[in-house]
Symmetry: C2
Subunit: 350 residues, 2 copies
Amino acid sequence: MTRTDSMPAVLERARDLVGPSLRRAIERLSPELRPLATYHLGWSDADGRPCGGDGGKGVRPALSVLSAEAVGAAPVFGVPGGVAIELVHNFSLIHDDVIDEDAERRHRPTIWSLFGIGRAVIAGDALVALAQQVLLDPGVLALGEARLADPPTAVAAARSIADATAAMIAGQALDMAFEAVPVVDVEGCLAMEAGKTGALLSCAASIGALLAGAPFGAIEALSSFGMELGLAFQAVDDVLGIWGDPASTGKPAFSDLHQHKKTLPIAAALAGGGPRAEELAALVATPELSSAEVARAAELVEACGGREVAESEARRRLGAALGALERAELRPGPCEELCEVAAFVVERQH
Amino acid sequence: MTRTDSMPAVLERARDLVGPSLRRAIERLSPELRPLATYHLGWSDADGRPCGGDGGKGVRPALSVLSAEAVGAAPVFGVPGGVAIELVHNFSLIHDDVIDEDAERRHRPTIWSLFGIGRAVIAGDALVALAQQVLLDPGVLALGEARLADPPTAVAAARSIADATAAMIAGQALDMAFEAVPVVDVEGCLAMEAGKTGALLSCAASIGALLAGAPFGAIEALSSFGMELGLAFQAVDDVLGIWGDPASTGKPAFSDLHQHKKTLPIAAALAGGGPRAEELAALVATPELSSAEVARAAELVEACGGREVAESEARRRLGAALGALERAELRPGPCEELCEVAAFVVERQH
């Protein structure tokens, strides 16, 4: 992505810090798996030639580094967690693209559409196994003696990632189940999003502190910050999934409506009742929608207040995230940067 | 599968011991994921109704339990490892069926062919994440205070599984790459099989000892036993993949030749050279083979000595596995049972 003036400086700083370790971890993959991973990450093209991409905004590594700094630890304490979470995040993107049959991501063909479903499945599998190795085997990142977590801390960190991964997978399975039912209530929708998006951001925002041996209260506050931020992130994503500009998002217009996703704006619009909600329900239940029908469905979601619900949910969750940071004694500088990242996530257009 | 007289008693004993914990772990899956897992394991039918299946022979849990007993520990030390490895093994089966487009396993439709590719992908993902939780979070199995691994042991066990999982995935990726090339040498083929099959059996055969805090020498001997057994297992699998009786294996006749797998008998047959090897090479390079061509290819593999190479490799690796057990001081009773399991694996017909 292009750097904009609104992008917090910490994203670049965290990328410089975490990036080399992420590359070192990817180097451990076998020659059959590595090109798939580097293609997905935007580091190489379809023929394996290096190219200048950097794969995503790097919000998760930034949170991981800041969570170490927020408890007064050196930023390097956030590196193993940042690498592991970035690997789990990319595992989920690769498999989600297979599941959703999305042919493009970040304006490039997805792994499955270029190399086949089998290779996308195995590439995702490789990243999730590597994520655990990063936390359990200090030899993978070779950050030096000083950065070896003691065994109880390594267990806690690996468990935090395993739990977040399991919650994310359960959220994705719920999202898939929602596609097949006519109506989903707002509560169910938020539970799905807490798993699908909140769990990993919650882990990202606390694992640096955890690896630095911070007290429970600080880890809990940072973890809550991440969960609330995840729900804000997802509410924004849901708005972009319907009304996002295809030129920015890289997805087709009204993408989520085409795919029969039951995201927050849709669930909220259907919950309101009345003739417009009924018209929307009928469209949502139609297996294949024409472009005109999808545009009409988007209009109805907005008219039924679904867009406003999601936008206010994003603001409310952002507020709750910032509030969580006040529940523990954290360093003011890193805290300010956490707030900048949070604001960036909620204001983004893609 | 039907119990035969040749089946070692330890398989049933290990199933009784590990089974309840495996069920408890599966219970943790969300309502969307659980029915997929229980269907795959043979515990429920396509509509979620319980049925009497027990999912496979249970070789891995038996090895895990025996590896604890072999170092003089109570069999329960082998339970968390046995559960975790059974989960990883089933994750790999579910994803391999997607990758290989196999529509049947154990005489039942595979998950992807019944519920779709997306659900097979997410079900596999859920099992691999759960495997790590089993080792890192004592609450999952709730085996009681006495069975909590201390943190250094938990790290070693979780790392052992993560490393074995990563090696297995790399082996599978290599297997996929082999399908696209005309010839594979025997050495490359064995390296692929060491990853694809050996790594997880090596982990299974040593993790009980590892969790029981056994000395390095014992863990190493058991780990070698498992690796050699894995290579023997795979050599037998390769023979069954061509000449296995479809009624027993649940796979079509000459299955591996249809799928352009480059297994040991095929690699060995091609390596010999001569006119028959050339005829075989031409057939192997043909994209779609008729039934007559596949039968001819199988005949040529046998005529070129490929079957004999695989069968003698299985015997040789079985011998090496038994030899590895003599390198450490292990309890004679459990050792004898390890040998029984090894013999069973090599003599099996499916």
